[in-house]
């Protein structure tokens, strides 16, 4: 292996590219050639460093020097000084805004990294099928010290002090939940892990279970110790076969090591875990429905109280927490509640994992401290909107959440701010939309989902959502009236107020938030029979511009409906009564003669 080889990494993210990134690469290549350094120094474009405000970024390996705001004319100096003479170009190093010191190594640039991985700390780091790797990363130490050094109440107090709130969406304080379950007396209690992740586009919990299953097992055992339960059950959807397989491996390994089973760590505490499979119903994320499904009953919610802490699985006191909530527990206990509660905002502590999806450049699984703004998530971590389009909205909270517009981009993300903005945290799905997304269609998409997933137990949800969907469909076909818009609003509020469980109470949120934030778009559909984002097919009109059409016949041959007529070398035209708005003609036209309105 060749040593002392120098690699120059140049950020190829959209931001850096826009500020002369490519010229910088060309200049580097020229300088390398000029100085006869080919073969010893190479230049490579990388993905976005997520530090766009200080771009373009150039990183020199192997000494990890991090240059910011590099201009094409700086390249010569970097090659001559740094590469050849080994002296860093100080003026291009990042300057710490507080100490005014120049920092050369990105590792020491505290705020450069917007993401902190707590729940995901071992994902992508350890081999999830080998318990030793988890133990080497302090695995099961939290459980061991709880059992041998702390009383259950002390552990509960620590969790309460940490400020951890349920990551499944509700945001209920976890320590308090444990305390309720611990106070109820019974011969048997249960710890339940809710791994029934159901929001479309969300996969935080799956990633944790697949990447770090032991953390969930350890946390469940700790919870068992706190509330006085000896049995744990993980309710996981059968659609997650790899997560199930890795959990099984993890449970077996933990049993072999005596970390699950009887008399853990030489104490009197017994704890074991079993898996229960769900068929993948969204409503089973609601804890009472989840418990019924675990018992073999239909997955339908029941009225609370009694809360599961009082009467849950098999009628015994049970504590239900989500996967991500559990994944935070061992860290909190190892590092201390006072370490954890310094991260985040006043009322929302720690970090949150989001599945960032939609029209952003870097779709991914991210973990950011509470209080990070939507702008930082979408434009810095996400690398901005695809194809340089305009940001339109971001949907958080899945089918229970809402769409936030650009006016909320600087809102710090936490439980309370998102609710105040008309959306919610949810379990962590985050879908970014650009100018080509029609907000009526977005609302319709989520309503289709809730209609399919409603358990049908109560009328407002079963029938009301169906009616909402019908009205939305009517609007996207251009058959809606202004009266329909008011009906949508009224009906939504009735469903919210009268449904039994969280699914029904939140299902109209996508409709209400789009009505609030994109009223004009609804009106355009109704009054002008026009879809401003050009997504609703029934409202589109394809037109051939006779000035631009050269009569090549490509469109007429592509049209599956035979709607285009015209002679060769003469301008063609589209018969709108036959057109099915498929857009095939527009794709084929090489002269830009066909437009869509």
């Amino acid at each position: 292996m060749v040593k002392n080889k120098i690699n120059i990494l140049v950020c190829g993210g959209t931001g850096c590219r826009a500020s002369n990134g490519e010229t910088i690469i060309d200049n580097f290549k020229q300088e390398i050639e000029k100085n006869g350094l080919e073969g010893q120094v190479s230049v490579v474009t990388t993905g976005c460093f997520g530090f766009c405000e200080k771009g373009p970024i150039v990183k020199i390996m192997p000494d990890n020097t991090f240059y910011t705001q590099v201009k094409p004319e700086d390249v010569k100096e970097i090659i001559e000084e740094h590469v050849i003479k080994g002296r860093r170009v100080t003026r291009l190093l990042y300057e710490d805004p507080e100490t005014k010191e120049h920092i050369s190594d990105s590792k020491h640039m505290g705020f450069y990294r917007k993401q902190i991985r707590i729940a995901l700390r071992n994902c992508g780091f350890i081999n999830p099928e080998i318990i030793d790797e988890y133990i080497a990363r302090d695995g099961y130490v939290a459980l061991g010290s709880c059992l041998t050094e702390k009383t259950p109440q002390e552990v509960i107090d620590e969790i309460k002090l940490s400020g951890l709130r349920g990551r499944g969406g509700g945001g209920f304080p976890t320590g308090l939940k444990w305390e309720f379950a611990s106070k109820n007396k019974a011969d048997q209690k249960y710890v339940v892990c809710n791994a029934d992740e159901g929001d479309p586009g969300a996969f935080m919990d799956r990633s944790i279970l697949e990447g770090d299953p032991h953390t969930v097992l350890e946390a469940m055992a700790i919870c068992g110790y706190c509330i006085g339960a000896t049995k744990g059950v993980i309710y996981i959807r059968a659609e997650y076969p790899l997560a199930i397989e890795r959990l099984k491996i993890a449970i077996n390994q933990a049993r072999e090591y005596g970390l699950l089973g009887e008399k853990l760590f030489g104490s009197d505490f017994d704890f074991d875990i079993e898996l229960k499979y769900g068929a993948g119903a969204f409503v089973c994320g609601e804890e009472t429905a989840l418990i019924h499904s675990m018992e073999g009953e239909r997955g339908e919610p029941t009225v609370k109280p009694p809360f599961p802490a009082e009467s849950g699985y098999k009628g015994k006191p049970s504590n239900v927490n989500n996967v991500e909530t559990f994944a935070n527990i061992p860290v909190i206990l190892n590092k201390g509640a006072n370490w954890f509660n310094k991260i985040g905002t006043e009322k929302s502590k720690g970090t949150k994992v989001f599945a960032l999806a939609g029209k952003v450049n870097n779709v991914g699984l991210i973990e950011v401290p509470m209080g990070t703004t939507l702008r930082e998530v979408i434009f810095e971590i996400g690398g901005g909107i695809k194809d340089n389009k305009q940001f339109k909205a971001v949907q958080t909270g899945g089918p229970s959440g809402g769409c936030l517009t650009s006016s909320f981009l600087d809102t710090p993300i936490d439980y309370d701010n998102l609710i105040a903005a008309g959306s919610m945290m949810g379990s962590g799905g985050m879908i970014v939309m650009d100018e080509d997304n029609c907000m009526v269609s977005v609302a319709k998409f989520y309503l289709e989902f809730t209609c399919e997933e409603s358990c049908g137990k109560c009328v407002p949800c079963r029938i009301g959502n169906k009616r909402l969907l019908e009205i939305l469909t009517k609007i996207t076909k251009g058959e809606g009236t202004m009266d329909d818009l008011y009906k949508l609003k009224n009906l939504s509020n009735v469903i919210k107020d009268t449904s039994l469980c969280g699914l029904g109470q939140t299902s109209p949120n996508p409709v209400l938030s789009t009505l609030d934030n994109f009223w004009d778009e609804y009106v355009a559909h109704v009054e002008e029979k026009r879809c401003p984002a050009a997504e609703c097919r029934a409202l589109l009109h394809y037109i051939i511009d006779p000035e631009k059409c050269v009569g090549c016949t490509a469109c007429a041959r592509a049209c599956p409906a035979g709607a285009i007529s015209g002679t060769v070398k003469q301008a063609h035209s589209i018969d709108l009564s036959k057109c099915i708005q498929c857009g095939a003609c527009m794709e084929k036209c090489k002269f830009g003669a066909i437009s869509r309105k």
């Binding site: 080889k5 780091f125 081999n127 990633s207 997560a243 991210i366």
Partner: protein, 130 residues
Amino acid sequence: MGKIKSLADLKNLKTDLQSKIDLREKGDSPEKLVQIKVAMATCGIASGAKEIMDFMIDELDKQSINSVVTQTGCMGYCYAEPTIEVTLPDSEPIVFGYVDNNRATEIIEKYIKKGEIVEGVLPVNYETID
């Protein structure tokens, strides 16, 4: 491996394992051992991570390059799957995205054998707690 019966047992095991991993990292022939982690959550596997892992193992074996290839969970770079992390001796780990057989070959030929970084580097943009 016997059962862990006390916190001290666990801590001993941890120290043991850490020194083993250190040995693996710094072992007898530190100038040769290459470590590769392949992100293998469902999504990684769906985009071909398993094939890449097999390919890397075969190829490194064929060329007698002293290496450890392991699987790991999601690294979070969904847009660039399959992703792998390569750690050369005495170097910082580097994550490569969009790895197909061609790029894997390139990574072996250029980066692992010559230390020359190839296209597809994903800057690690998060901090992981210890």
